[in-house]
C-alpha cells in the first residue's frame, strides 16, 4: 500500500517532468520495437502460409494426373514389376472399403452421438456433467487408441477378427465424442426464450424439446454431423490396426477390408514411383472429399440462417 506521507513529497510537477523525460527517452526504442515486431508478424504469417501453400500445390500437382488416369476409381490394385512399373491398377477396393467403413460408423455413431449430446445439453445432473467431461476428454484422445480398443473388443474378445466391422467400430468411437460436443453446442445455442415459450404454453418439457427446441437446433446438429464425418474420412491409425487388408472389393462387415488412408500409407513407402504417385492421388481424393463436405456444411449452415432471418 502506498504511504501517503511519502507520495506527498512527489509533486504533480515532478511527475509530469519525469513522464516527459521518460517518454522522450524511450520513444525511439518503443517505435523501433513496434516496427520490428510488425515486420515479424508479417514474417510469421508468411512462414505459416508458405509450407501450407507448397503442400497444396504439390498435392494437386502430383495427385491430379493420378485421379484423371483411367481406372483409378474402377480398377483393383495391381502389383507393378520391374518390367511393368506403371501397372498399378486402381484403388476401387479401398474406395468401397472406405465408403463402407464411414457408412457403418455414421449409422452407428450419429444417432447415439446426437442423443447423448441432447442429454448433456438439457440435463444438469451430475451424471450429465460426467458424460460431458468424458466426451470432451475423448475428443482430444489420440486416435490410435481407438484402434487399440477396437482390436481388444471386436477382434479379440468378440472373435470377429480383423474386419470392416472392427474398422467401423474404431471410427465410430472416434466420431462419437465429436458429435456429442457439437450437438450439445447446437442445442445450447437455441435461444432459451424458445424453450420458455413452449413451457409457458403448457407443454411438457419433453414435448417442448422434441417439437420446439430440437427442430431449431437441427442446422447446428447437421453441420456438426457433416464435420464429424469429414474428420473420420481421413483417419488412418485406428483403421490401420484392425482392418486387415483385402485385395478384393468387399463391404461385408465380417470381411477384412481396405481403406483409402491405409492403402495410401502402404503405397508411400513403396519402391515404385508409380505407387508413390498413387499415394498422392489418394491424398488428393481425401482432401477433395473433405473440402466438399466442409463446403456442404457451410452452405447448409448459411442457408438455414437466411431462412431464420
Amino acid at each position: 500500500m502506498t504511504d501517503s506521507l511519502t507520495t506527498q513529497q512527489i509533486t504533480s510537477a515532478e511527475i509530469r517532468a519525469h513522464l516527459r523525460e521518460r517518454s522522450s527517452a524511450t520513444l525511439r526504442r518503443r517505435m523501433a520495437t513496434s516496427r520490428i515486431m510488425t515486420i515479424l508478424c508479417w514474417l510469421a504469417i508468411s512462414l505459416a502460409a508458405v509450407p501450407l501453400v507448397a503442400l497444396l500445390i504439390r498435392l494437386f500437382e502430383k495427385g491430379t494426373p493420378v485421379l484423371l488416369k483411367s481406372g483409378f476409381f474402377t480398377q483393383l490394385p495391381q502389383q507393378p514389376t520391374l518390367f511393368d512399373q506403371t501397372n498399378t491398377g486402381g484403388v476401387s477396393n479401398a474406395i468401397i472399403g472406405s465408403i463402407a467403413i464411414i457408412a457403418y460408423a455414421t449409422l452407428a455413431s450419429i444417432p447415439i452421438g446426437i442423443v447423448v449430446g441432447i442429454y448433456t445439453a438439457e440435463s444438469d445432473s451430475k451424471f450429465a456433467s460426467t458424460i460431458r467431461v468424458v466426451a470432451s476428454t475423448m475428443v482430444g484422445a489420440p486416435s490410435i487408441l481407438m484402434g487399440l480398443f477396437a482390436f481388444g473388443l471386436i477382434v479379440v474378445q468378440l472373435h470377429l477378427g480383423f474386419s470392416i466391422l472392427a474398422g467401423s467400430f474404431a471410427v465410430s468411437v472416434l466420431m462419437l465424442p465429436v458429435l456429442i460436443g457439437s450437438t450439445e453446442i447446437a442445442v445450447r445455442n437455441v435461444p432459451p426464450t424458445l424453450r420458455e415459450a413452449g413451457l409457458a404454453l403448457g407443454a411438457k418439457p419433453s414435448t417442448t424439446s422434441l417439437r420446439i427446441v430440437l427442430p431449431a437446433a437441427t442446422t447446428g446438429i447437421v453441420t456438426g454431423a457433416i464435420l464429424a464425418i469429414s474428420r473420420a474420412v481421413g483417419e488412418t491409425a485406428p483403421v490401420l490396426l484392425v482392418i486387415g487388408g483385402a485385395y478384393a472389393i468387399t463391404w461385408k462387415p465380417n470381411d477384412p477390408g481396405s481403406a483409402l488412408p491405409v492403402t495410401m500409407n502402404s503405397y508411400v513407402a513403396s519402391n515404385f514411383d508409380s505407387l508413390k504417385d498413387l499415394a498422392w492421388g489418394i491424398g488428393l481424393l481425401l482432401v477433395l472429399v473433405i473440402f466438399v463436405l466442409s463446403f456442404a456444411a457451410r452452405i447448409w449452415a448459411a442457408r438455414k440462417q437466411k431462412v431464420q432471418r
Partner: protein
C-alpha cells in the same frame, strides 16, 4: 444543482455571456472533414477549442460528432480507408503533420470512451499507471504518486485506496468510468476527449461524473460528445451543434458559448434541436 449551473443562471440574469474563445486556445480546427472510403461523414468543421474549458459537441445521431472527436487524437488512423482533411492544431503543432509522432500526440490528447473499459487483466493500480508504463515510466515512487494524484483528481481515491490490487470488475459502472478517467489523466494530457462518457451509466453516477468534469477543466481542456443536450447545457462552456446535411455528411451549424446557444441561438435549426423538434 452544481456550482456551474448556479453561475450560469447568475450570468443569464446579469446578461453576461463570456465567450471563452477570447482566452487561450488549446486546439484549432480549420475546415476539418472526415471521409470513409470516399463517403464524407463530417465536413468543413471550423472552430477553436478554448483551453481549460469544456467544449460540447451536440447533435442528433449521424451528425458526425463522434467521428469528429476521434479525428482529434488520430483514432481514424486505425481505420483503413479513412481520410481526414483540413487542419487540426494542438497548440503550435499540426496534429496530422509529420513532426509529432502519433504516440506522443495521443499522450497529449487523452480519451475516455462510452462504455467504461478498464483493462481486464490488470489490477486497479496497474490500470491507472498503464499509460505511464507505456511511456516508459518505471520508478515505483513516481507510479505510486501518480496513482494517488490521478485517482484523487477523478474523485475515486477515497473509495478504492485500500484495494488498489483488486480487479476492475469489482467496481460499479460509475467507478469504472472514473477509473478510466484517472487512467487518462495519469499521462498528464493537455486535452481530454470524452465520447458520451455517461450514456452507459445510471443517473447518480452520471451526476458524479458531470461534477467531476466541472472540477477537471481547471487541469485539462475537455471536449465532450453528448447526445443529451441537457448534459451539454449543464457542464459545458462552449457548445458546437452539428447536423447531418442532405448529402448525409455532418456539418457544423453553430458554435457559441453554451449559455447563448441554448437561450438565443443564431440558427433556426439549432433552435429546433434544443426545443426537441427532432431527435
Amino acid at each position: 444543482m452544481t456550482e456551474h449551473t448556479v453561475n450560469m443562471l447568475k450570468a443569464v440574469q446579469e446578461q453576461e455571456i463570456v465567450d471563452p474563445r477570447t482566452g487561450p486556445i488549446a486546439m484549432r480546427l480549420s475546415d476539418v472533414s472526415v471521409a470513409f472510403n470516399g463517403r464524407t461523414a463530417v465536413r468543413d468543421v471550423t472552430f477553436d477549442v478554448p483551453a481549460n474549458n469544456v467544449t460540447a459537441l451536440i447533435g442528433p445521431s449521424g451528425s458526425g460528432k463522434t467521428t469528429l472527436l476521434r479525428s482529434l487524437n488520430r483514432l481514424h488512423d486505425l481505420t483503413k480507408g479513412a481520410k481526414v482533411s483540413g487542419k487540426i492544431m494542438l497548440g503550435e503543432d499540426d496534429v496530422y503533420g509529420g513532426n509529432i509522432p502519433v504516440t506522443v500526440l495521443r499522450s497529449r490528447i487523452g480519451m475516455v470512451f462510452q462504455r467504461p473499459n478498464p483493462f481486464p487483466t490488470m489490477s486497479l493500480y496497474d490500470n491507472v499507471v498503464s499509460g505511464l508504463r507505456f511511456n516508459g515510466v518505471k520508478k515505483k515512487s513516481i507510479l505510486d504518486a501518480a496513482v494517488e494524484e490521478s485517482l484523487k483528481a477523478a474523485a475515486l481515491w477515497d473509495e478504492i485506496k485500500d484495494r488498489l490490487k483488486a480487479h476492475g470488475s469489482t467496481l460499479s459502472g460509475g467507478q469504472q468510468q472514473r477509473l478510466c478517467i484517472a487512467r487518462a489523466l495519469a499521462v498528464e494530457p493537455e486535452v481530454l476527449l470524452m465520447d458520451e462518457p455517461t450514456s452507459a451509466l445510471d443517473p447518480i453516477a452520471t451526476q458524479k461524473i458531470e461534477e467531476l468534469i466541472s472540477q477537471l477543466k481547471s487541469r485539462v481542456t475537455i471536449v465532450i460528445v453528448t447526445h443529451n443536450m441537457q448534459q451539454a447545457a449543464r457542464v459545458s462552456d462552449l457548445t458546437a451543434f452539428l447536423l447531418m446535411g442532405e448529402d448525409r455528411a455532418g456539418e457544423q451549424i453553430e458554435v457559441a458559448p453554451t449559455l447563448k446557444l441554448f437561450s438565443q441561438p443564431d440558427d433556426p435549426r439549432t433552435m429546433d434541436y434544443i426545443q426537441g423538434r427532432f431527435g
